[in-house]
Point group: C2
Chain length 205, copies 2
């Protein structure tokens, strides 16, 4: 999962650990809070051992004439880049869309974020799998609310309702995206700044 995200990012350009973390946080921040270093560095070493990424040398900044810093224990910035095997592995993970892809928010989010590298069939498979999954959860919540409403206190009830609305919203969003996939257009980019008012997607009419 994290391996997948790292490979995807390094696919675009070489990076240090710190930069990787930032990119993950902003690119996937929606579905995945923030990656910790306790996850990041072990994963990088794992990937390196598996020959999927490799250390590139310290780039650019040091001009040819400059003396190396000489400082004791100089711990240089390590730039990682993806290898050929890494690219293969990434494509393989990208096109394989099992249930673990739909089940977790993170799994789906990270796949979606790299959709630009997939073919449409895979995209649709993942989107529809995800929709089915969220619909199931939605039905479960509706049942709870319909059957056990009087046994729950007001706060628990409000929590369920909020969750239900979130499911309904995600299903609508997925359907928008699926429709735009089918019609061949990539999702639309709005030019109006986002506001507290609901966004009127031009995909809907």
């Amino acid at each position: 999962m994290l391996e997948f995200a790292i490979l995807g990012l390094l696919h675009e350009s070489p990076m240090h650990g710190y930069e990787i973390r930032k990119q993950i946080t902003t690119k996937l921040g929606t579905f995945r809070a923030a990656i910790s270093y306790g996850s990041l560095y072990p994963t990088l070493r794992r990937l390196q051992t598996a020959r999927l990424i490799s250390e590139g040398d310290e780039p650019a900044t040091a001009a040819p004439g400059d003396e190396p810093p000489l400082l004791t224990g100089r711990r240089g910035r390590v730039v990682y880049k993806i290898t050929a095997e890494g690219k293969e592995r990434f494509q393989e993970l990208l096109n394989r869309a099992g249930p673990e892809t739909y089940d977790s928010e993170a799994g789906f989010g990270v796949h979606f974020a790299f959709f630009a590298r997939t073919d449409r069939a895979t995209r649709l498979r993942i989107l529809e799998g995800r929709r089915r999954r969220v619909e199931e959860r939605r039905e479960g919540l509706r049942e709870v609310l319909a059957r056990a409403a009087e046994r729950l206190d007001a706060y628990t009830l409000e929590l369920q309702r909020h969750g239900l609305e979130a499911c309904e919203r995600e299903v609508r969003w997925l359907e928008e995206v699926i429709a735009s996939e089918r019609s061949g257009q990539i999702p639309h980019i709005t030019d109006q700044p986002s506001s507290d008012q609901p966004r009127r997607s031009p995909l809907q009419e």
Copy 2:
């Protein structure tokens, strides 16, 4: 976190592990997918060691005249109940609302689910802390969308927009709940079944 949820559930009535898992999944399912047994049983033992819960005896079902099952390795259902220390600890955790409460979906969700056991001051503190937190995330997303929109591909962009809308929605929801806390009413219970249409909360007018 999981400890907190278990204490809260056992506060209501004694239960087996299996039942605890089900309750957590349905009560907090919105913010927290499903607890695994690999988390549950170790946590139960931890709580038991700390004297916060204790094993109640196997209840009722076995009538006095019945011979015990005799089966080899009969592994009985274990009913757990909360102790006095456990109740104290729970109240302590409930009223303490640190940043870790607002930061994670799970942390906030589990607290909200047990709001019925808190005083209004604590509820408001948590709700406002959460709102501030989500607003921060929202602003971060708005900035990304405003500044770096052209550097992102269509899918990443769509993901960010979806995340932004989710933040906006949660802030609105939090404000509804906060308003209803301030006005002294508990959150309203709708009688109309939930549908795909947005719910018109009576709290808004």
